[in-house]
């Protein structure tokens, strides 16, 4: 019958289109998927994106092939024609299978995403009480770096060394615990290659974990509109070998001593006088 033939055509076309696209996605595009394998968390995101692309591709091609086929096969080419289509008002079987398929997909995605998220936090800001502390962060004390955002610059406070600096420097192969906070408005600390993004809110300590791998250059940008120079709130950070990091930290301690002695006591949040409209 006609509709069986049409349906077979659609399925065949779908397979023909999907297989190469799927292969392209998984084998060609996936290895270069953002944000790259700069850290354990970033690599996790690459895997996650690969899974999502892998699942999204057949769904997308299914709809597009179906649409294209309909427009090709069922298009009325005789404009004066008054012919009508068949009066089909639904089909319980199709609806059931559609619902089952989409629900399965959705539940799988939600479960998969949750599992990945709970494993290591995926580099996202988790607020003051993280739910996903990576196993490695529980053992040895991770390196704490406080990211102090202000209009319009990120500063990095290393409580272990007692200084604050505008330069982000991290040791390689180390568990880092970012504490992101803000002194004025909302910013967002986005260390692209590390796969870290955490909003900086005034009065909030937003914790994000990342496990660095080899040496790396990091582009840091503000990802939340923070006013006039939002577009210029960027800097470049580095992941360096551990010995090099130790040397750098020592140098900075000396170099920044005059400023460091004026720093307020280390705290998870700061509330500088808000200077209200009332003055």
């Amino acid at each position: 019958m006609a509709q069986t033939r049409h349906f077979r055509n659609v399925v065949m076309l779908w397979l023909i289109v999907t297989v190469p696209f799927e292969a392209l996605m998984i084998f060609v595009l996936a290895p270069g998927m953002p944000p790259g394998n700069g850290s354990v968390q970033a690599a996790g995101q690459v895997t996650d994106n690969t899974v999502l692309f892998g699942l999204a591709t057949p769904v997308t091609t299914a709809v597009l092939v179906f649409l294209g086929y309909c427009l090709y096969a069922f298009r009325e080419r005789d404009h004066s024609s008054a012919l009508e289509g068949p009066a089909i008002r639904g089909d319980a079987g199709v609806q059931f299978w559609w619902l089952l398929t989409t629900t399965t997909l959705v539940l799988f995605l939600a479960a998969y995403g949750s599992i990945r998220l709970l494993q290591d936090g995926s580099g996202g800001g988790q607020g003051p009480n993280p739910i996903a502390v990576p196993a490695m962060a529980k053992g040895d004390a991770p390196l704490q770096v406080q990211v102090v955002a202000q209009q319009w610059q990120f500063d990095y406070r290393y409580p272990k060394y007692g200084f604050e600096t505008p330069d982000l420097m991290l040791p390689a192969n180390t568990m880092v615990e970012f504490h992101v906070t803000s002194l004025d408005v909302i910013h967002s600390f986005w260390a692209y290659q590390l796969g870290v993004k955490a909003d900086a809110n005034p009065g909030v300590d937003n914790i994000a974990y990342v496990h660095t791998l080899g040496p790396l250059t990091i582009n840091v940008r503000c990802a939340e509109l923070c006013g006039l120079w939002h577009g210029y709130m960027f800097d470049t950070g580095h992941v360096v070998p551990q010995a090099e990091f130790a040397t750098w930290a020592q140098q900075q301690q000396t170099l920044l001593a005059p400023g460091s002695k004026r720093l307020p006591k280390y705290s998870r949040t700061y509330f500088p006088s808000p200077v209200r409209r009332s003055g």
């Binding site: 509709q3 349906f7 399925v11 953002p34 944000p35 995101q45 996650d48 994106n49 769904v59 997308t60 709809v63 597009l64 179906f66 649409l67 427009l71 069922f74 009325e76 009508e84 289509g85 009066a87 089909i88 008002r89 639904g90 089909d91 079987g93 609806q95 989409t102 959705v106 539940l107 939600a110 995403g113 949750s114 998220l117 709970l118 995926s122 996202g124 988790q126 607020g127 003051p128 739910i131 909302i186 967002s188 986005w190 692209y192 993004k197 005034p202 009065g203 909030v204 937003n206 940008r221 990802a223 509109l225 006013g227 006039l228 577009g231 808000p274 209200r276 409209r277 009332s278 003055g279």
Partner: protein, 635 residues
């Protein structure tokens, strides 16, 4: 009761006579007067230690500005004649529904309070269309600035104001982009009524929106606002009085939305003609119901949120100021409890229009009517439970993140219903690729990508990179521009001729579609890549390596602009120059609005219609012999 007699003619007056009385010009005059009273007569005379200090230091008086806006709007509405009826009611005169319904046939009725739903619809179409084009112009400016990696044409202040104005105008004005013009016009006709349940409120929603638009533009007088359309606090609190204009704008938009939704819902609930049961309601009306639920419930939260921001700026409360017990999260939470339903307020009418138009152009009944209704209502319901996905990296307590991931992804189920309905309706139809149909097909393509990219954003690990980047920007342009604007044009080409009694040039319409479709995808497709490559939203700079993609996007965006000019030319040509009257039923549609003469008379129906069991009586019934055939077919 006796039948209502309607007078079709009114005494003619000269142009100058018509200028007097209650109309737009009186409204503007009183609006300006109200501004001066609010700002100078009251606001500048309020004293107080803090205010004096503030005025001396910042050279600004937010209390006066806000009062000026409030009284300006009040003056405008009084001048339009909106106070007349409430005052009469205060004096005890009986209620009436037909007031200002027949304001003659001339163009003047479009410039005054008119409660004919068809007039309000056309007012909406023109008014919203104007702001849509201004918003689009802002987008062109934004893309011009992004032609180069560093500031070059506009300064950073102007750039951010452009970003904010573009976003606010599109989100605020286009929220009513389909419900304003098309639902107001077609819903009463579809359900067999002569008017809306509250005709004066219907007119009010439109004029409130226009007042809001003007207020938004006045932000420039204060130096603009730096917050984008989301208006995050405490950045907004730092802003100059330009942010007061933002508050005034969105506050009025929220009020307009609430009333528009309430009115449409009350109309559909109470004023259905005999035979128009819920199961015979055209799917467009169901879309309107779903959208109206969101409007009625979500928009008031926006008003409250912005009022809190306004109080922080004027009377020194501290809702959003962390140092004195407030929280920036409060704003983010409240804003997105409104904001996520808001994006479905934008998207759902698009679903409804596609499903309404497909049967006409495939010559088939709507496939899966109940599923379609379930899809619309399901999206509306779920949209209240997903807002924290906007806060996935915000540092809010993370415990609920898996829940919001699940609820967000679950929205793809009812959205999937819509897709299934669309696909089922296309299947084995006799598809006529007219201009409205082309735009519907465009919607299927665009919204597919919009929806799929939404899955990436709803997945927390993937969202960490894409959040707040051009990826999310591309995502919502695919859903809103690809979803709402495409269906808006589908509706313009479909109902527009009947509303305006003109015939559009079909060739130009096709040129408009194809250029828009190609340019749209060429503009927003690369933005996904830009987001993945690390470009945040709303920035005026970007790394040198991204210039190629950005320039490509900018040039494509100009092509969108050119495509819109084709549309504008088409509209102006057919409405002003050729003026070829529209046929009564150019699409051989079987819905009731096309059974009426063009132009539709003021009273719509002489006899109230009665309705058949099937809202979509298209197609040839299957042959009675043999088993019924499966539609989509499952192996």
């Amino acid at each position: 009761m006796s039948a209502i007699a309607i007078s079709a003619s009114r005494p003619t007056k000269s142009f100058w006579q018509r200028l007097g009385g209650f109309n737009m010009f009186t409204g503007i005059a009183l609006g300006i007067a109200g501004w001066f009273i609010g700002y100078y007569a009251i606001g500048e005379n309020i004293t107080g230690h803090t205010l004096t200090y503030y005025k001396a230091q910042a050279g600004e008086n937010d209390i006066a500005v806000c009062l000026g806006y409030v009284l300006g709007v009040v003056g405008f509405l009084v001048g339009m004649g909106f106070a007349n009826y409430p005052v009469r009611r205060m004096l005890g005169h009986p209620p009436s529904l037909t007031e200002h319904e027949s304001e003659g046939e001339g163009a003047a009725r479009y410039f005054r309070l008119c409660t004919d739903h068809k007039v309000v619809a056309v007012q909406y179409l023109i008014g919203i269309g104007t702001f849509f084009f201004v918003g689009g112009l802002n987008a062109m400016f934004i893309r011009t600035e992004l032609l180069s990696p560093n500031t070059h044409v506009f300064g950073p202040n102007q750039y951010l104001t452009l970003v904010g104005m573009h976003g606010s105008m599109m989100m605020g004005m286009m929220t009513s982009g389909i419900l304003g013009p098309f639902a107001n016009w077609v819903v009463p006709l579809m359900i067999g009524s002569r008017r809306m349940a509250f005709p004066r409120i219907e007119a009010l929603t439109f004029w409130l929106l226009m007042a809001a638009g003007v207020i938004l533009v006045t932000t420039i007088f204060w130096g603009g606002f730096q917050t984008g359309w989301t208006g995050y606090q405490p950045l907004g609190d730092e802003g100059t009085a330009g942010y007061d204009a933002y508050i005034g704008f969105f506050g009025l938009v929220g009020l307009s939305m609430t009333l528009l939704g309430l009115n449409l819902m009350a109309t559909i609930i109470t004023m259905r003609a005999p035979g128009m049961t819920w199961s015979r309601l055209p799917i467009f009306c169901w879309g309107v119901v779903a959208t109206a639920i969101l409007m009625v419930l979500a928009a008031p939260m926006l008003i409250a949120t912005l009022l809190m921001a306004g109080m922080d700026r004027t009377v020194q409360t501290g809702f959003y100021i962390a140092a004195i017990g407030g929280s920036a999260y409060l704003f983010q939470n409240l804003f997105w409890v409104f904001g996520h339903p808001e994006v479905y307020i934008l998207a759902l009418p698009g679903f409804a229009i596609v499903m309404e138009l497909l049967p006409v152009f495939t010559r088939k009944p709507l496939w899966g009517y109940r599923l379609a209704v379930a899809g619309l209502l399901g999206v509306a319901f779920l949209s209240f439970f997903v807002w924290q996905h906007h806060l996935f990296v915000s540092g809010i307590d993370a415990d609920l993140r898996p829940f919001y991931m699940l609820s967000t992804e679950m929205i793809s189920l009812p959205t999937g219903f819509t897709f299934l309905v669309v696909m089922g309706t296309l299947w084995r139809g006799r598809i006529r690729l007219t201009v409205p149909m082309l735009f519907c097909v465009g919607w299927i393509f665009n919204f597919l990508f919009g929806g799929i990219s939404g899955v990436f954003l709803s997945d927390v690990p993937s969202d960490v990179t894409t959040h707040g980047s051009f990826f999310s920007m591309a995502h919502f342009h695919y859903t809103i521009m690809g979803g709402l604007v495409f269906t808006f044009f589908a509706a313009v080409y479909y109902w527009g001729p009947k509303m305006l009694n003109v015939k559009f040039d079909e060739r130009l319409g096709k040129i408009h579609f194809w250029t828009l479709f190609v340019a749209f995808n060429s503009t927003f497709g690369p933005l996904f890549a830009l987001g993945f490559l690390g470009m945040p939203r709303r920035v005026v700079t970007y790394p040198l390596g991204l210039q190629g993609l950005n320039d490509w996007v900018s040039i494509s965006a100009y092509c969108i602009g050119l495509s819109m000019l084709v549309f504008l030319y088409n509209v102006v040509k057919s409405t002003v120059f050729t003026r070829e009257p529209a046929e009564d039923n150019p699409w051989q549609a079987k819905s009731i609005e096309f059974s009426l003469p063009t132009p539709v008379p003021v009273h719509d129906f002489e006899r109230l219609p009665t309705f058949d069991p099937d809202p979509y009586p298209y197609g040839v019934e299957p042959a009675p012999i043999g088993a019924p055939v499966p539609a989509g077919g499952v192996a």
